[in-house]
């Protein structure tokens, strides 16, 4: 069932200067990897379009959203306080397949957002994360992620944990990953493509969640279209989760 809520922010947690979590009441239960469209509700239409935001967590009828301030829209939302009204519509998009025995979730920057709920919902024997951040003070939600899986953190500048990005970490540990592992990823395109390259000789399933500017988020505007294997796909409707192998087709090269 879908929803189109005009609802107050009931909780707000600022993690660092450009990351924060807001919470709203939402009785519908999302699937792993789905997202909502959110906007501040006011007399003005600025910014004009709503913003796609993943489900970071959902429990007891509450939807948690982890947001990074990138531009105008996310900045506007970051200035809102508890009690301010926002419009939340959803749940949109396809879900991460989370029935694999072993899960390896790889996230880059704000890409970590959909991985928490996905890992929580998964019934797996082994859940492992590789989460990449720019530097030490960008690392967030360590307790939360380590509580639900083995957490490996990378920092580009090496000021803490593994020096390098998630793909470097993956390449160095490829041997320990058996073919039963399913990889779920979200982050910059180069990271997802890098994962595919790393899996060249491997039979490992890898599903990635794509990011793009969106008009409607619900399959009506055709603004989020990409070509996959020669045919038209809508990131908001046929995705955002795609089979990375077909999408990047790096493995056959």
């Amino acid at each position: 069932m879908s929803f189109n809520l005009v609802t107050p922010i009931i909780e707000k947690k600022v993690l660092n200067k450009d990351m924060f979590i807001i919470t709203v009441n939402c009785t519908e239960k999302p699937l792993a990897g789905q997202f909502v469209m959110i906007r501040s509700v006011s007399k003005f239409f600025e910014p004009y379009l709503s913003r796609p935001i993943s489900v970071y967590d959902w429990k007891d009828g509450r939807l948690y959203m982890l947001i990074k301030i990138v531009g105008k829209g996310t900045e506007l939302i970051s200035n809102l306080s508890i009690g301010n009204i926002i419009r939340v519509t959803g749940f949109f998009g396809t879900n991460y397949p989370i029935n694999g025995k072993k899960l390896l979730l790889i996230g880059g920057g704000i890409g970590i957002a959909p991985l928490y709920y996905a890992a929580k919902e998964a019934k797996t024997e082994k859940t492992e994360f590789i989460l990449g951040f720019r530097s030490k003070d960008d690392v967030i939600l360590k307790e939360e992620f380590s509580a639900i899986g083995t957490l490996n953190i990378t920092t580009d500048d090496g000021t803490a944990y593994f020096k390098g990005n998630p793909v470097n970490y993956l390449n160095e540990n490829l041997k320990e990953i058996d073919n039963e592992t399913v990889i779920l990823s979200c982050g910059p395109k180069i990271m997802m493509r890098g994962i595919e390259k790393a899996l060249k000789e491997r039979e490992i399933k890898h599903y990635c969640s794509l990011d793009t500017a969106m008009g409607c988020g619900m399959g009506a505007c055709l603004g989020c279209r990409i070509e996959v294997d020669g045919n038209s796909k809508l990131i908001c409707k046929d995705g955002p989760v795609f089979d990375a192998e077909t999408l990047f087709n790096e493995r056959r090269k």
Binding site: N4, E46, Y48, L49, R87, T212, A213, A220, C221, R225
Partner: protein, 300 residues
């Protein structure tokens, strides 16, 4: 409170319609609203054969609006008739099929393909698309072609024929009168304003197709002026659109002479806005103790 509007041989329960390309094929909005609460909706522009549309990026946000260069991607007439129409045939709301073609013959063929379908109430001819025959300048700019396309479709169908006009012309009343002379039951305006945006960081155009169509609250004053001008120039009903996002906008278009209105990009902001505005219009008329005809065209 009777809010019905008759255009051609189609009776709309109320004047609130939704605009082509912003309402998919209707079913995408069914989870969010009661499709029968609005007078009718326009489908995505349908062409004889499926179209891939333009390269990405295809949408870009602007101040109080958005640019799109979708390029009329659509499933084509066959798929529409076989798969999509059956899914929406059950609704009572009026179905307006927006037609996209690149020559007079194509418009005729497309009409013939669709015409057998009882459940299609009206056609909306998108004349702001490039006319490949005359070097891509849009149909809407040459009154002779507007009249020819209109009368050709007029002769091919008994359904209600609406001609949609582009605002990117010096005098919109010329194509409007040409559509009237061609036998159109109504004209609908405005389609998007041609525009482009630059991604300064990447030193590139924001849209893959460079030029896109501007929609949203930003273009409302331009749309209101052109609707007012056209409503004074033709006798057939005028369907107004362009930046409608709240009740005052609906009332403004009705007051300058629109018999009905279409909501476009605002559907992306709030997927149930069209139903909400239909309800708000009824309670406004009730509270003012006025009928729709009492406020339509009072500023003409």
């Amino acid at each position: 409170m009777n809010t019905s509007v008759k255009i051609g041989n189609t009776e709309f329960t109320n004047p609130i319609l939704t605009a082509s390309g912003t309402f998919g094929y209707g079913k995408e909005f069914a989870p969010f609203m009661n499709l029968d609460a609005i007078g009718g909706f326009c489908t995505k522009g349908i062409s004889i054969n499926p179209r891939k549309g333009n390269p990405e990026p295809r949408i870009c946000e602007t101040s109080s609006g958005m640019l799109n260069s979708i390029g009329l991607e659509n499933c084509g007439s066959a798929h529409f008739l076989e798969t999509i129409l059956p899914e929406i045939a059950g609704y009572k709301t009026r179905i307006i099929v927006n037609m996209y073609a690149q020559s007079v013959e194509e418009f005729k063929t497309l009409t013939e393909i669709l015409d057998a379908e009882k459940r299609i109430d009206c056609y909306e001819l998108n004349l702001s698309c490039p006319n490949v025959k005359s070097g891509g300048i849009s149909f809407g700019t040459d009154p002779k072609i507007v009249e020819e396309v209109t009368s050709t479709v007029r002769k091919t169908t008994d359904k209600t024929v609406i001609v949609k006009l582009s605002p990117n012309v010096t005098d919109i009343t010329i194509p409007a009168k040409a559509a009237e002379n061609g036998g159109a039951d109504a004209v609908s305006l405005i389609n998007t304003l041609a525009g482009l945006e630059v991604d300064v960081k990447k030193k590139q155009f924001a849209l893959g197709n460079i030029i896109g169509g501007l929609s949203g609250a930003a273009i409302k004053p331009v749309a209101l002026k052109l609707v007012w001008q056209t409503a004074k120039a033709v006798k057939i009903p005028v369907i107004g659109m362009g930046g409608i996002s709240k009740l005052d906008d609906v009332l403004s278009f009705l007051m300058v002479g629109a018999a009905a209105i279409q909501i476009g990009a605002a559907n992306f902001i709030n997927p149930s806005i069209s139903e909400e505005l239909a309800v708000e219009l009824k309670s406004y008329l009730q509270s003012e103790n006025k009928t729709l005809q009492d406020i339509t065209g009072i500023l003409l």
